[in-house]
């Protein structure tokens, strides 16, 4: 089962995602992101423990990215595993999202 942990960090919120995100679990990711965005439009998504992502979950990221943009905020993704990063790059998602390797780097961007 995936887990979602969120923590306030100044005016941003850090959401840590653990587990596999597919069409079955994507609605849980959506809820976690919406809850996070309700607290702050500056979201750091720590995916270092996320081991899988399907396009249903990529769609959830895109929808929430669209929401934070309208609020003048941003989603920065950090700690992506290499095999997921490759898919992200190939599918062009790296051009849409800010993807950095560490939490420290993410904090510098937000």
């Amino acid at each position: 089962m995936p887990t979602f942990q969120s923590a306030k960090d100044g005016d941003r919120i850090i959401l840590k995602v653990t587990g596999e995100m597919d069409a079955h679990t994507a609605p849980q990711l959506d809820k976690a992101l919406k809850d996070a965005i309700a607290q702050s439009a500056k979201v750091i998504l720590d995916v270092s423990q996320m081991t899988y992502i399907a396009t249903a979950a990529l769609g959830v990221l895109m929808a929430n990215h669209n929401t934070v943009k309208t609020k003048g905020g941003k989603i920065v993704i950090c700690g992506m595993q290499e095999k997921i990063k490759k898919v992200f790059d190939t599918m062009g998602f790296s051009k849409v999202f800010s993807v950095v390797s560490s939490l420290d780097e993410a904090k510098k961007l937000l």
């Binding site: 597919d22 069409a23 399907a54 396009t55 895109m62 490759k86 898919v87 599918m91 062009g92």
Partner: protein, 137 residues
């Protein structure tokens, strides 16, 4: 080592993880490249998701998967009894436009086009058969 794997699953999104686990274990014994296994799982996951959501429209149904691995090539045959639908005739996605417009759906078949080395669709007596081939490095 096993060269074939057959699965029959109930058409439910809850089964996606089980499919990935079975395929992962199958390819692990062959020590296949991790990135190739990952993209293969992704393709199967996307196709099965589409069958459940749009083929069976989240209603009851069955999906069968047959996996063959020979000469570093994985061949996966996915069969269902849903209304006929050929994903290979689905118009290609302009990915840049798609992302720029902030679209949130419609990338499953794009994944198949991106990562499969070859694909074949056959309409069967009861539904659909899709054969996906991928060279594993």
């Amino acid at each position: 080592m096993k060269q074939t794997l057959s699965l029959k699953i109930e058409a439910s999104l809850e089964q996606l993880k089980k499919i990935r686990q079975e395929l992962s274990s199958f390819f692990e014994q062959w020590k296949a490249n991790e990135n190739d296994v990952f993209t293969l799982l992704l393709m199967v996951d996307e196709i099965v998701t589409n069958i459940i959501r749009y083929g069976y429209e989240n209603k009851k149904g069955e999906i069968s998967l047959d996996v063959h691995y020979t000469d570093h090539t994985a061949e996966i045959t996915i069969e269902d009894s849903a209304p006929p639908f050929n994903p290979l005739e689905y118009p290609p996605v302009d990915i840049e436009k798609h992302l720029n417009e902030g679209k949130t759906h419609g990338l499953g078949i794009h994944v198949l086009r991106t990562y499969a080395d070859s694909c074949e669709y056959q309409k069967t007596k009861n539904g659909n058969r899709l054969i996906i081939r991928k060279v594993m490095h």
